[in-house]
Symmetry: C2
Subunit: 280 residues, 2 copies
């Protein structure tokens, strides 16, 4: 008998996850959304094996539930539906912050297993219209299992990560995830928007190279989503922003002093750290 993965929320990530999961083992992929235009698009593009707008019925029946909502909506959904999940099922999410979401999962009964997840992929667009079954190829898939999780569910998520094309699975705690993600992802987005606040922005057409296009790419972000992601991780994020301000100021001050030798030393130190990171 086939099992069911229910994807709650067919936005960019949920829609992409549904597409990427099609054909995974003996699971049927059930797409769930409240928005009729989203469901119509999903039906026309065969985003999932089956579609419904009835989340309650879907999670009552599903063996695996992927919560692909904004973080605040996940917290609300867990609270509202805590008694509706199938006993023995796995509930997971794809959200860019983990502490707030995993803490909220404490409302679930013991027989429902929650393992927080964050496949590190995205686009500077949103909605199912931009969904892409290849979105997760080459991405890290971060998992934050709670004490007492069921090991077979962690195995299942590892097989899913491999199936959708992720490069690896990284296990960590929710606190470490949120602290590091403030640095590797959130502050990159803050920098991108801060760069676009420069009064010279609209003067720069014709003068931009690859570094400008790369850095500002993510500035056209989904505002409600990122408002929640930043706000719900504010203490880690403000610490990283402060570090960055300090590091920028140090470069500015050595330039203002006209100390070329010190500038060269600083650049050599930073460039060497980057080379040691060895990201492809």
């Amino acid at each position: 008998m086939s099992k069911t993965i229910a994807i709650i929320g067919l936005g960019l990530i949920g829609g992409s996850m549904a597409m990427a999961l099609k054909g995974f083992e003996d699971f049927e992929v059930l797409g769930v959304d409240r928005d009729s235009a989203t469901l119509e698009f999903a039906a026309a593009h065969k985003v999932a094996d089956r579609l419904t707008d009835d989340a309650e019925a879907a999670i009552a029946d599903a063996d695996v539930v992927y919560l692909c909502l904004h973080p605040g909506a996940i917290v609300d959904f867990l609270k509202a539906h805590r008694g509706d999940f199938k006993p023995g099922s796995l509930v997971t999410d794809v959200c860019g912050i983990k502490t707030a979401v995993v803490d909220a999962a404490a409302v679930l009964p013991d027989e429902v297993d929650f393992i927080g997840g964050h496949p590190m992929a995205g686009k500077e667009t949103s909605g199912i219209f931009h969904a892409d079954g290849d979105l997760f190829r080459g991405a890290h898939y971060i998992l934050t299992p709670r004490p007492g999780h069921r090991p077979e569910h962690l195995d299942l998520l590892r097989r899913i990560a491999a199936y959708i094309g992720c490069r690896d699975v990284v296990e960590t705690t929710t606190q470490k995830h949120d602290a590091i993600i403030a640095y590797t992802s959130q502050v990159m987005h803050i920098m991108a928007v801060a760069v676009c606040d420069d009064p010279d922005l609209f003067e720069c057409r014709g003068f931009e190279g690859g570094s400008f296009r790369d850095c500002t790419r993510v500035a056209a972000l989904d505002v409600p989503l990122w408002t929640e992601l930043f706000s719900m991780n504010a203490s880690a994020l403000t610490k990283v922003i402060r570090n960055l301000e300090d590091n920028l100021r140090a470069y500015r001050q050595v330039l203002e002093r006209g100390d070329t030798a010190a500038l060269a030393r600083k650049l050599a130190w930073s460039a060497d750290r980057k080379r040691h990171m060895d990201l492809e």
Copy 2:
């Protein structure tokens, strides 16, 4: 009778320019470098039509001279060789700052035409070993003609820009170039190195996504080159760094206040500016 373009300095940009220029109209491409390993590599890979280590003889004979040295070396070269260029020739450069270089060209005699140039392409590697004839494809080619330049030379540079695959030619003043480039290019590099100064850098393997890879890509920079580029444009660059510090601080403060509505308004404003930039 064929004419000659001499490329002085076969580094990443000079080597790429020589390769890109091969076959341009009836010009012979003459590659010039003092380093024997560079000349050997250039000969083995047919980087230019002809090679020499004799810059003085090369510029005495060349109709077009491309100075592809670091900015300080260009200033020194112009001073040392001011009387050696062929009368009626065009001298240009490919340097990322323009005021210091074009000012230095004032030492040239009236019968030698100097037009500053900046094809906005690069890599986070250096040396002829990484040269690539396709490096300039899709790049903006910025030109800063001086009053009294010869229009046929500007036309020639426009035909070269098209031949090597640049998307367009942008004419501007040296001052405007340097002010805008401080923003669109130099501060992107300062941000990339400043991000790599964060104490958490080496914790972040496994947690990085596209935005982190994109933003820090240029941090592994050529230290002597960028020390000069930053130092020789310090007043414009420090102004842009200060703006960025201010814009980051504004985001940090709204996060520290916990003012979610103000954060959403700020993000909407910045993301909207980015969307209006409409870079592909």
